[in-house]
Amino acid sequence: MRDVSIIGFGQTPVGEHWELSLRHIAAQAVLAAMQDAGIDRADALYVGNMIASETSGQHHLGALVADFVGLRGIEAFRVEAACASGAAALRAGYLAVASGAADLVIVVGLEKMTDAIGNSITTALAEAADADYETPHGLSFVSINALLMRRYMYEFGVRHEDFAGFAITAHQNAVNNPYAMFRRPITKEEFVQARMIADPINLLDSSPVADGAAAVVLCPTDQARSFSEYPVHIRACEVGTDSLALHDRRDPLFLEAAYISVQKAYARAGVTPADIDLFELHDAFTIMAALSLEAAGFARRGEGVRLAMDGAIALNGRIPISTMGGLKGRGHPVGATGVYQVIEVAQQVTGRAGANQVPNARLGMAQNIGGSGATVITTILEA
């Protein structure tokens, strides 16, 4: 296996892009990444996307995007793993370069959620869950996370307001990210009083539906310096899986797939949790942030939420998370999120995170979670 590096990236601001179609938002991100890397060709392009067929009536995204960025003819296809589709596409690109099959690969995560009408987006997102035994009973994707949160609160004696720190930190960090959707801070009072969606999860526990596209360019590490002043070495990009349905898990409050992917990533990179300077975790809901911190080894079981209560997740804390706003503040265009996360870690470890720079960030980790934890992909990056 060859070492793989990121040599360029591009992202569109996350938000409601009524003026942009699926293909145009993808092209914006890809062309920006190609310009950043200084390339006008590539060997392959992998598209991470979850629900374009539902929101835009469009499958077959690999060829579509390749054509629209002037790369007609190259290898291109879509990779899908629910909300982990972005990181899954990164994994595909990483393998292509590592194996020697390709030298220059573009990975783009892409979602155009505001083209969906009414409750159809709620239905589309629920396709990440078990279509035979979860969704026919009227479960929304939010409610599946709510089942986790309620049980967590019960088992560990935690109150809903104890999760406020996750949302407050994310919003605070989003203020300084020009690509973030919500660039305004929120208060604990607003968090506690937000509109209920699926009890106990309210609007401010939840990341927003949004449009977005983010792209990175990969090449072998030994060629990276010829393309970029700021290459970022992918020390690991590892996948773990679990059952789709919560009810099929031995312990629903333990993210087994996250544990598996993190352990594989730590082993490949030869590091431990103590070496990680920041962690872009998958805070689609505040409960997921807590469970992710526990599965990654930053907190004991039932104590992930405490890191949001004692400031450990702040930019200058023990393990900064959501440093550019996270899914909560930056926004969560589902199939694009995994690539946004990786770009944010790349910015941090190269000292280019601006006002939100984590001091002396050297090694950063991103974790993209599909469904309620059925696919988890953990990526470790170093400048």
Binding site: G118, N119, S120, T122, T123, A126, D130, A131, D132, Y133, E134, T135, P136, H137, G138, L139, S140, V142, S143, A146, L147, L148, R150, R151, Y154, R195, M196, I197, A198, D199, P200, I201, S243, A245, L246, H247, D248, P252
Partner: protein
């Protein structure tokens, strides 16, 4: 859920028929033909008693398509007395009275109607265990 999928899963949805593993004894629901505990083949039918307790619950205010008329409604993970968790709606109960550990039993109810001329989908829901049904009834036998 389309008509073929509805037909395929009817015994599970009407009668909580799962499977039992003869290698390790695990009771399996929903059925999957491979034991999740020991990964051996396991396709012998097993009918669950339908009794259990609430493991977790959530009341949904923003429902998916097709469930709008029911909102708000309460969904739950129910821990069946034979072991497995099952995902279902709670019924015949005030959401404010639901709590973790609450004893419940399975009933058959309408899950949804698919449009005006569409099919009506029935399946299991769980309601608070009624005191007068505490008398033992056959359970655990193979169907």
């Amino acid at each position: 859920m389309g008509i073929p999928a509805y037909w395929r899963t009817r015994t599970q949805r009407y009668a909580l028929v799962g499977e039992v593993c003869h290698k390790c004894g695990a009771k399996i629901f929903p059925p999957r033909d491979v034991c999740p505990e020991c990964t051996r083949p396991a396709s012998d039918p097993f009918t669950f008693s339908g009794r259990g307790e609430v493991y977790s619950f959530s009341t949904i205010y923003q429902p998916p398509e097709g469930f709008e008329e029911f909102a708000p409604y309460t969904v739950a993970l129910v821990k069946l007395e034979e072991g497995p968790l099952v995902t279902a709606q709670l019924t015949d109960v005030d959401p404010a009275e639901v709590h973790i550990g609450m004893p419940v039993e399975m009933v058959t109810r309408k899950l949804r109607e698919e449009g005006e001329d569409g099919q009506i989908i029935y399946g299991y829901k769980f309601r608070p265990l009624l005191r007068n049904t505490l008398t033992p009834r056959p359970s655990g036998q193979a169907a």
